[in-house]
Assembly symmetry: D2
């Protein structure tokens, strides 16, 4: 692993100063991560559903953390593709969890998948795959 | 058209009470819409880029409006799939525009595509396709 | 389970008369399936890679089988969305395996994911997610 | 343009020796292409529908041609992501057309979209977006 749990916490805090709207890191492995998004009014849509953008934001950061656990603090890695299937209505009372794992970490591209769950429920509310473009290190 | 511009403005305001974070309706056609997201600090990521979730949220609402222009105010239509390609870094000074058009409006599914642009620039910063599930009208 | 292994083998043979170009069923569970595509010249691209369409066809049938294991022989279920990430160059000498599992089986939509592997290698060569539209049973 | 119509025809013929199963080039622009797939039994599914893999194969080659019109005969460009929405049942009697255009051609990635139509019908039967990874030229 190129970054441990504490390093990732600090990195995410620095790079997402708006902060907790993108969730909290719960676990970090070698190419995996788990994040939690506390559900509050800001993320709810009418009808009491967590909004799609809130889930997509969480999914994006979870895969980002999983990627950086493998390649280190490359802050300029950017999402080039995100595909998400919304499967079930999330609970309005439960926090949202994102469990991410990398499917590939190449020199130029990283691809990961992430399951989004309502805390306490086994069936995913959404599933996403994502591609990150990894910048080429500059020659010196 | 099943809803006109003024009806859609009112509908969006009622259904997205958190409001302008999802953007403002500029144009509505029969299966098309244009929306604008004023860029402010809330949507910016480090490095001065409009965040992915902000673009996805705008894309989602723009296709939703394009769909409802065809089927009327069906507030329970839900996004089942979203695929987005991030193409270029958006300008940090320019508002974001979303131009949506429906590719199919069936009885059960609506599929649309949307180009995301920095205002004043012709080349899209992102492109998304989306599927909405349309609820079956209840029998009486 | 609504269909067992032997029933599925017969069903696939009847519904894909062009046959083995879509692969052979190896395993069927309750919402899961494994299929094998023997690699031959017909599926190879220049450079000795299994073609993308061959992998997509196999992925499609594998998720179809996983779906039917849950809902029975609904031959009119149709693919509405397929998203595939190509991760690594498949081996030109090894058969291709597809391991599918359903993420959701609703009344109207089924969503599944599938890992594509070169036989003998643990790292997936591709990963796909798919949505099937399930026809509403006719009232009598 | 880096390749003209005749150069592209020759290039495709050389690189897809299995040939016409991937369709025929009708038009080539600067970042655009149109291809035709003659419909025959090989591409049909039970019920008289053109198969998904046949449409995906055609979509893939059409975007590939559109990309190469901009970057020249880079035979090692590979598809990394394909997302396709199947919109309507294609006609079983009509040829299939693919109209592709690039959304972005960068140094490392090209992203294009493609509309698939039954010849003679204006409404698309499918729509796909695709990402190609472009190999870095070797230093000499």
């Amino acid at each position: 692993m190129e970054m441990n749990f504490e390093q990732m916490q600090i990195f995410l805090k620095e790079h997402f100063p708006q902060g907790d709207q993108y969730g909290e890191l719960l676990e970090l492995g070698n190419g995996t991560s788990t994040m939690r998004l506390p559900v509050d009014d800001q993320h709810l849509r009418p009808g009491g559903t967590v909004s799609g953008p809130a889930m997509m934001g969480l999914a994006d950061v979870a895969v980002y953390a999983a990627l950086l656990s493998r390649i280190g603090p490359v802050s300029l890695a950017v999402t080039t593709n995100l595909n998400i299937n919304f499967l079930r209505k999330p609970s309005a009372d439960a926090d949202i969890l994102a469990k991410a794992q990398m499917l590939k970490v190449g020199k130029r591209l990283g691809v990961g998948e992430v399951y989004i769950l309502s805390d306490g429920d086994d069936e995913p509310v959404a599933h996403a795959t994502m591609t990150y473009s990894i910048p080429v290190p500059e020659k010196r």
